[in-house]
C-alpha cells in the first residue's frame, strides 16, 4: 500500500484523500470520460485533480465554508461529479438533488438542507430554482454548468462554472500556498466529517436527508470493491440519477476507492448507444431496465427473418439449459458445452455486444424483485448478473450475492462486515460499516429508525432461507391480514403480476378487506406491439387500456398468479378476486410513484378511492376524473369509465404443512 501522507495513518479515509492518491498512483490513467461533439473526451486522474482543485479554490473564494451544504442538481456530468469532491475537499457537504423533481419538491430539499450555494446543470434547472427562489430565503448563489440560453440572465447571483474554475486557477497560479494549503487541508482530515447528505426518494412521505460520514463511506466502498474484485482497470457508465445512493456509491465512491474510470453519457437519450461504445465492466440497473431490454430484444426478434428466429429460439433453449451452470462453474456434459460455445459465437456474443454487455464482469440489480425468468435470461447469456439489497441509510449494501452462488428469489447473504438480524415482527435490521450517522435536522426520525442497541430498522419484512440468504417479502408495515385472517403481502402479489411483460405496474389492496383486488397498468410498448401485430387499432393509452381483448389477456395473467399463489400455503388465502386496468399510467409527476419509480400505495388509494370502492362493492364499471401534472407544472384532467373484472379463485393446493417455508 502506498504511503499517502495522510495524518490519520496509511490509508485514505476521505474521498478527496483518495483523489490525491489516485492522481499520484494512476496519474495518466483515465478517471472520467464524457462524449462531447460526438467524440469521447477523457480526463486522467491528474487532470481530474486539477479540475477539482480549481473549482474548489473558486468555491472557497466565493465563501463556501466547512460544514456548509452545497446542492448539486443535474444529469451525470463530469463537472457535477467533480463538485462532490471539490466540496468535500473543503469539508463542505454536497447534497445532490433529483434533477427531475418539480419546483416545490426541490424547494423543500434546498430549504431543509439549508442551502446557500447550488450547482445546477443548465437553464432548465436555473429557471426551476428561480421560480421558487422566494421560498428558499437561504439560497444566495447559483452556479451553472451549461451556459446555453443563460446569457441574458442577471448574473449578480448567477455564475458560470467555468468562471469560478478560472478564478480558482488564477488563485492557484498567483499564490503557491493556496494549492499547498488546499492539499494540506485534505490530508488533515480524520474522516469524521459528514461527506454527503443524500435525500431519500420519499417512498413513505417527505424525503429525509441521510448523513453519511466520510470514513464510514470510504470503508463501505473499500469492502464491496474488494468483494467484487474491482480495480483501476474497471469502467462504469454513470447514467442513473446523480442524487440516488446507488449512482453515488457505485460510480463515485467505489470509483475513487479503486481508481476506476467513470464515463458520462452524451445525453440521457444516448445511454444505450454509449453503453455499447464504452462497454462497461461493472454495471448496475434496476430490474425495469433489464425488463425493457428483454422486451426490446423480443420485439426486434419478432421482425427478424425466419432463419434468425429459428437460430435465436434454438440457442436460447441451449442457454436456458446450460448457460447458468457454465457461468457458475457447475458440471455440464461436453455436448452441452459445445452447443453453448456455438450459441455463444452465433447468438449470445453478438447479443451481448448489441446490449453493450460484452465486457461486463459484474452486473447488479436491486430496488425491486426481479422476475426469475428475466434474471435467468441474462445470466444464461453469460452475464454475471447478481442481486443486492441495500438502502440509503446503509450507504447502499446490506446484502449481496457472491459470484457463483446466485438465486433469483433471494438477495444473498450479508455483505462484508454487515450484521443482519430479523426482528420479532419480521423486520430486517442491520449494522454496517457505511451506516448513516442520522437524518439531517431530524433527530426524531433518526430515533424512530434506530433501535436502542444501534441497529438500523429497514422497514422491510424478510426471512432467511436455509443457506442464510435473505429473502425480502414486502415492506414490514404493508404486510397485513384479510378479514378471513389470511396473510396478505401486497408487494409479493404485485411482483408476481409485474413479471408479465404486459403489466408495467400493479397495486394490490386487501389489508382489512374481505379479499384481494388489484389495479393494473399495462406496458405500452409490449401491449402496443401486440395490438399492432393483431391489427387492433387504438388511439391512446386510455383506449388501449380499456379494450376488451386487453382485459382478456390481463385476466389470463391474473389467473396464472392465482394458481401460483394457490401453490404456496402461506399465500393461498390471498388470491386476487377482482381487478381493473387503470386508464392512465402511474407517474412520479402526479405523485403516484416515487422518483425511483416505486408505488406510493396510500396516495394512490386516496386518489383513486372511487375505483377501490368499485372493486369492493361489486359494480362492473366506474367513472373517474383524475388530475394530471405536466412536466412544466401545469395541470390538466383526464376522465374515463373504468371496467372492473372478476377473477377465478383456485383452491389451495394440498401441501403438507412442513413443506411450507
Amino acid at each position: 500500500m502506498e504511503a499517502t501522507g495522510v495524518t490519520a495513518g496509511g490509508k485514505p479515509v476521505t474521498f478527496p484523500q483518495y483523489m490525491l492518491l489516485n492522481a499520484k498512483r494512476f496519474a495518466a490513467r483515465p478517471a472520467m470520460r464524457m462524449k462531447d461533439y460526438g467524440i469521447w473526451q477523457t480526463w486522467s486522474w491528474s487532470e481530474q485533480r486539477d479540475e477539482i482543485r480549481d473549482f474548489a479554490l473558486g468555491l472557497k473564494a466565493m465563501g463556501l465554508g466547512e460544514g456548509e451544504r452545497i446542492a448539486i442538481v443535474g444529469a451525470n456530468r463530469p463537472r457535477l461529479y467533480w463538485a462532490f469532491c471539490a466540496a468535500q475537499s473543503l469539508k463542505a457537504i454536497p447534497v445532490p438533488v433529483y434533477a427531475d423533481s418539480v419546483a416545490e419538491e426541490m424547494a423543500y430539499v434546498l430549504n431543509h438542507a439549508g442551502i446557500r450555494f447550488a450547482l445546477v446543470q443548465d437553464q432548465e434547472q436555473v429557471d426551476k430554482i428561480q421560480s421558487v427562489a422566494e421560498d428558499i430565503p437561504g439560497l444566495s448563489d447559483v452556479i451553472y454548468d451549461e451556459p446555453r440560453g443563460l446569457r441574458d440572465y442577471d448574473h449578480t447571483h448567477l455564475h458560470d462554472f467555468a468562471a469560478i474554475q478560472e478564478k480558482g486557477r488564477e488563485l492557484a497560479r498567483s499564490d503557491a500556498s493556496a494549492v499547498a494549503d488546499w492539499e494540506a487541508g485534505i490530508r488533515a482530515s480524520d474522516g469524521s466529517e459528514v461527506s454527503a447528505i443524500l435525500y431519500t426518494s420519499g417512498t413513505t412521505g417527505r424525503s429525509k436527508g441521510v448523513m453519511l460520514t466520510a470514513s464510514a463511506s470510504v470503508k463501505a466502498a473499500e469492502d464491496t470493491a474488494a468483494f467484487d474484485h474491482l480495480t483501476e482497470r474497471d469502467e462504469v457508465l454513470a447514467y442513473l440519477p446523480l442524487a440516488w445512493v446507488g449512482d453515488h456509491y457505485l460510480n463515485y465512491a467505489q470509483g475513487y476507492v479503486v481508481g476506476l474510470c467513470m464515463s458520462c453519457p452524451e445525453s440521457p437519450d444516448t445511454v444505450s448507444q454509449n453503453l455499447r461504445e464504452i462497454g462497461p465492466t461493472f454495471y448496475f440497473a434496476p430490474p425495469r431496465v433489464f425488463e425493457g431490454l428483454l422486451t426490446s430484444v423480443m420485439i426486434r426478434m419478432e421482425d427478424a427473418s425466419r432463419v434468425k428466429k429459428w437460430l435465436f429460439n434454438r440457442y436460447l433453449g441451449v442457454a436456458k439449459k446450460y448457460g447458468e451452470k457454465i457461468l457458475e462453474g457447475r458440471e455440464v456434459p461436453l455436448s452441452g458445452r459445445i452447443s453453448y460455445w456455438l450459441g455463444d459465437k452465433l447468438i449470445y456474443g453478438p447479443l451481448r455486444n448489441v446490449l453493450g454487455f460484452t465486457r461486463i464482469r459484474t452486473a447488479y440489480t436491486a430496488g425491486e424483485a426481479i422476475g426469475p425468468d428475466l434474471f435467468s435470461f441474462f445470466r444464461s447469456l453469460g452475464i454475471n448478473l447478481k442481486q443486492l439489497y441495500g438502502q440509503t441509510e446503509a450507504f447502499l449494501y446490506v446484502t449481496a450475492q457472491k459470484d457463483g452462488d446466485v438465486r433469483p428469489d433471494t438477495v444473498g447473504p450479508a455483505a462484508p462486515d454487515v450484521d443482519i438480524r430479523i426482528a420479532e415482527n419480521g423486520e430486517v435490521q442491520f449494522r454496517s460499516p457505511g451506516m448513516f450517522s442520522g437524518y439531517y435536522g431530524d433527530e426524531d426520525k433518526t430515533k424512530e429508525t434506530m433501535t436502542d442497541d444501534g441497529w438500523v430498522m429497514t422497514g422491510d419484512a424478510g426471512i432467511f432461507d436455509a443457506r442464510g440468504h435473505l429473502k425480502i417479502i414486502d415492506r414490514a408495515k404493508d404486510v397485513g391480514k384479510l378479514t378471513t385472517g389470511a396473510l396478505y403481502a401486497p408487494k409479493y402479489i404485485e411482483n408476481k403480476l409485474k413479471f408479465f411483460p404486459n403489466i408495467k405496474e400493479a397495486v394490490a389492496f386487501g389489508d382489512g378487506k374481505d379479499f384481494v383486488a388489484v389495479f393494473l397498468n399495462i406496458d405500452l410498448t409490449a401491449v402496443g406491439n401486440w395490438a399492432e401485430r393483431n391489427n387492433i387499432s387504438y388511439g391512446s393509452y386510455q383506449e388501449l387500456a380499456g379494450l376488451p381483448q386487453v382485459y382478456e389477456t390481463m385476466s389470463k395473467h391474473v389467473d396464472q398468479v392465482n394458481r401460483d399463489l394457490a401453490a404456496e400455503p402461506m399465500m393461498a388465502g390471498a388470491q386476487i378476486q377482482r381487478f381493473l386496468v387503470l386508464h392512465k399510467e402511474l407517474d412520479a409527476d402526479d405523485g403516484e410513484l416515487t422518483r425511483t419509480q416505486k408505488v406510493r400505495r396510500s396516495f394512490i388509494a386516496e386518489r383513486y378511492a372511487p375505483l377501490i370502492e368499485a372493486l369492493y362493492d361489486g359494480s362492473g364499471e366506474r367513472f373517474i376524473e383524475t388530475e394530471v401534472t405536466f412536466e412544466d407544472g401545469r395541470k390538466g384532467a383526464i376522465s374515463a369509465t373504468v371496467k372492473v373484472a372478476d377473477a377465478e379463485i383456485h383452491p389451495a393446493v394440498d401441501v403438507l404443512p412442513e413443506a411450507a417455508e
Binding site: 460526438g38 473526451q41 440560453g149 444516448t270 448507444q273
Partner: protein, 274 residues
C-alpha cells in the same frame, strides 16, 4: 495530452448592420399565377435581430411571401431590398449564398441519409475546396471536412439530437424531422432564417422545445428570423413583430399586442361576410 475540443461559436456573419436596422424590405410586391392574385401590393420590413411572424388564415399568401423572399417566385411588381441591395429577380441559390436559409412546411430532407449527413449538406455552400479535392478526401479537403463536422456537431448539441446522429431521418418521428430540418438550415449559419410552419403537427411538448430553440437561435447566434405559424399562442409569445395577411393583402402589422386588438385581424380569423 490534452486535446479537448474547443467550443466553436455559431453566429450570423457580421454584415455591418446593427440590431434594429432594416435588413430586408418588401416594397409594393404583387404576385399572381395567371388570374389568381396570390399577393397584392404588400410592403413590410424585417429588422436585424428580430423575430418576425407572418400570420394569416389558409391561403392568405404566407408561403408565397416566403417563396418571394428567397427567390423561388419572382413577383410581377415591387422590389425586395436585402441588406440595402434591391433586386427583382433572384434565384434561390443566390439567396442562399447571400445568407438566407429556410425550412419547409412539409419536411424536405434526404430521407435515406442520416441526421448528421443531412445537416452536413447544409454546409455545402461553405465548403471551398473544389470537387477534385473532395473526391480525393485528402489534405486540405479533409481538414475542411473536420472543421465543418465540428460546426455540425455544435448544431447537434444545440438541438439536442445526439441520440439520432446516425439514424436515417426517414425513420424519425415528425417532430424530430422538423428539428433536423432546422439543423440543416442553421448549418448555413444564415443571417436571415425563414421558417415555414416550424411547429405544424407537433404536440405541446414538441412545440415548447421548438419555441425554445427558435428563441435560442435568435439570441445566441444573432440570427434574424421570419416565421409563419398558425399557433397563435406561440406567435404571441415568441415574436417581436407580426404582419398579418389575408387574401393576399396586408391587414395588420405591429407588435403582437397591437395585432391581437386589430379589428380587421379579428374579423379575418373569426370570419365575417365579405
Amino acid at each position: 495530452m490534452n486535446a479537448r475540443i474547443q467550443h466553436v461559436e455559431l453566429h450570423a456573419d457580421d454584415d455591418g448592420l446593427n440590431p434594429g436596422d432594416v435588413m430586408l424590405k418588401v416594397d409594393n410586391v404583387s404576385l399572381s399565377f395567371g388570374g389568381v392574385k396570390a399577393i397584392s401590393d404588400i410592403s413590410f420590413d424585417i429588422l436585424k435581430g428580430e423575430i418576425r411572424a407572418i400570420i394569416g388564415p389558409n391561403g392568405a399568401g404566407k408561403t408565397s411571401m416566403l417563396n418571394v423572399i428567397n427567390g423561388f417566385y419572382h413577383p410581377q411588381e415591387g422590389v425586395i431590398t436585402f441588406r440595402g441591395k434591391a433586386r427583382s429577380r433572384m434565384q434561390p441559390y443566390e439567396a442562399a449564398a447571400s445568407g438566407i436559409a429556410r425550412t419547409f412546411q412539409n419536411v424536405a430532407l434526404f430521407k435515406g441519409m442520416s441526421t448528421l449527413d443531412n445537416i452536413m449538406s447544409g454546409r455545402t455552400l461553405r465548403m471551398h475546396k473544389n470537387f477534385f479535392w473532395q473526391v480525393l478526401h485528402f489534405g486540405p479537403a479533409r481538414n475542411e471536412e473536420i472543421e465543418h463536422r465540428l460546426k455540425v456537431e455544435e448544431i447537434i448539441d444545440f438541438l439536442e439530437i445526439q441520440h439520432i446522429r446516425k439514424t436515417p431521418v426517414g425513420k424519425l418521428p415528425y417532430g424530430l424531422q422538423k428539428r433536423v430540418e432546422l439543423g440543416r438550415a442553421l448549418a448555413m449559419e444564415p443571417d436571415l432564417l425563414l421558417l415555414d410552419e416550424p411547429m405544424a403537427g407537433m404536440n405541446l411538448e414538441e412545440k415548447e422545445d421548438m419555441s425554445r430553440f427558435i428563441l435560442d437561435v435568435n439570441s445566441q447566434m444573432g440570427t434574424t428570423i421570419a416565421l409563419i405559424e398558425h399557433d397563435m399562442g406561440v406567435v404571441m409569445d415568441i415574436s417581436d413583430r407580426v404582419v398579418v395577411l389575408d387574401y393576399g393583402r396586408k391587414i395588420g402589422d405591429g407588435s403582437p399586442e397591437d395585432v391581437k386588438n386589430n379589428q380587421d385581424v379579428i374579423d379575418a380569423y373569426l370570419g365575417v361576410s365579405h
